[in-house]
Symmetry: C2
């Protein structure tokens, strides 16, 4: 049995967070994870450093690692950034994507639809996020791609925190419409749909219910 690398450990934890198996606020005990992955605590700590740098995990000194609970400010910043970046991704995809790439996107849509039909909610959430990751990959900008690989899991975390009773992460047909517009080289429409899509997700969140999560102690005791 070969031991996993730090990145592999971080990826496994990221997957668990994206699928909501590790809800926001979960304690990540070093010993438990070291046992689960069959490695020493050192490697777990190193994986935590990676995850903390991406914002998925928050480290409290001497107290341990916890799955981040994004604040409303972070939520706003994340969606604002995605609305800035993903239109650019679409422009690049339209400029660069081959027919094979479009086929990959279509295949991904199939996977999403299948997961939806079988009511595999966790899989739906992850695949919805990975649709945006696939687009970022096809755009061919490594900097933006890396940024998206951080923002997508964070968005999943936000959905876990704030999502309404029956909201599926991303409405399926919106993804399909975006790909239709991309395939038609209609960047204006694709960008408009993407922006609307992101706004849909953000607006479906009921942030008000959880406003107590980001309390400004300074303003209270000033």
């Amino acid at each position: 049995m070969v031991k996993p690398s730090i990145e592999q450990i971080a990826d496994r934890i990221t997957d668990a967070i994206m699928e909501h198996r590790l809800p926001p606020g979960s304690k990540l005990a070093e010993d438990k994870l070291a046992g689960a992955f069959n490695v020493s605590r050192t490697k777990i700590r190193q994986a935590f450093i990676l995850l903390a740098n991406e914002g998925l995990v928050t480290l409290h000194p001497n107290r341990g690692a916890f799955v981040t609970s994004p604040t409303t400010e972070q939520t706003r910043d994340i969606f604002k950034t995605r609305r800035l970046i993903e239109p650019e991704i679409i422009r690049d995809v339209i400029a660069r994507a081959s027919s094979q790439d479009i086929a990959r996107l279509r295949k991904h849509l199939e996977e999403e639809a299948k997961a939806r039909r079988t009511d595999d909610r966790r899989r739906v959430i992850r695949l919805s996020g990975e649709f945006h990751l696939l687009l970022a990959e096809l755009a061919g900008n490594q900097v933006i791609n890396k940024l998206m690989t951080e923002l997508c899991p964070l968005t999943c975390l936000i959905i876990a925190l704030y999502d309404g009773p029956k909201i599926p992460a991303c409405p399926e047909d919106e993804h399909t419409q975006i790909i239709d517009a991309i395939e038609a080289n209609d960047s204006a429409t694709a960008i408009k749909l993407m922006k609307r899509h992101l706004s849909h997700i953000e607006n479906e969140l009921n942030i008000d219910a959880y406003e107590e999560r980001d309390i400004h102690w300074e303003s209270i005791y000033s």
Copy 2:
């Protein structure tokens, strides 16, 4: 003597890279750094993980950590991303910045000018980068701010690799003009100037081999 945190170690190394005291390709030996910072190798390795995640350092398994030598593709992606993001930063700064914030920017321009007058080239390079970081900070978007704190040192690295014979990282007056336009709430002009500014930097680069120098750790981290 209090021991530095992982982040402080990473920041010190980042500073050294930004000031071109650690040129691209430099080997970062764990023992040497552990001695320089008076900590165990464990913390140095953790700092490396942070720096590698930001792209400043490249880890070669069993061979060690090296200051990254950005490729031409990475250079293109970094500048493309900055041209996308920094106009948005300017919009936000114009929308949010107080007169105090403008004063901070003016003060920074003073610092830059002073470093230029005293021919402190390393300081000029770093301050030029930090001007963009200050703008990002004032924009108030933590996601974008974090991205810029990664892209700026990388840009310094690129300048170290590819800069021409006598190009000062950023022409001084361009920064001043951008602030003038921001203070006048003229976002169109400020954005145009910023894009032109970034293009200037990118276009001044010439693709040449870099010269590897010997590094004296004691003098750098005394």
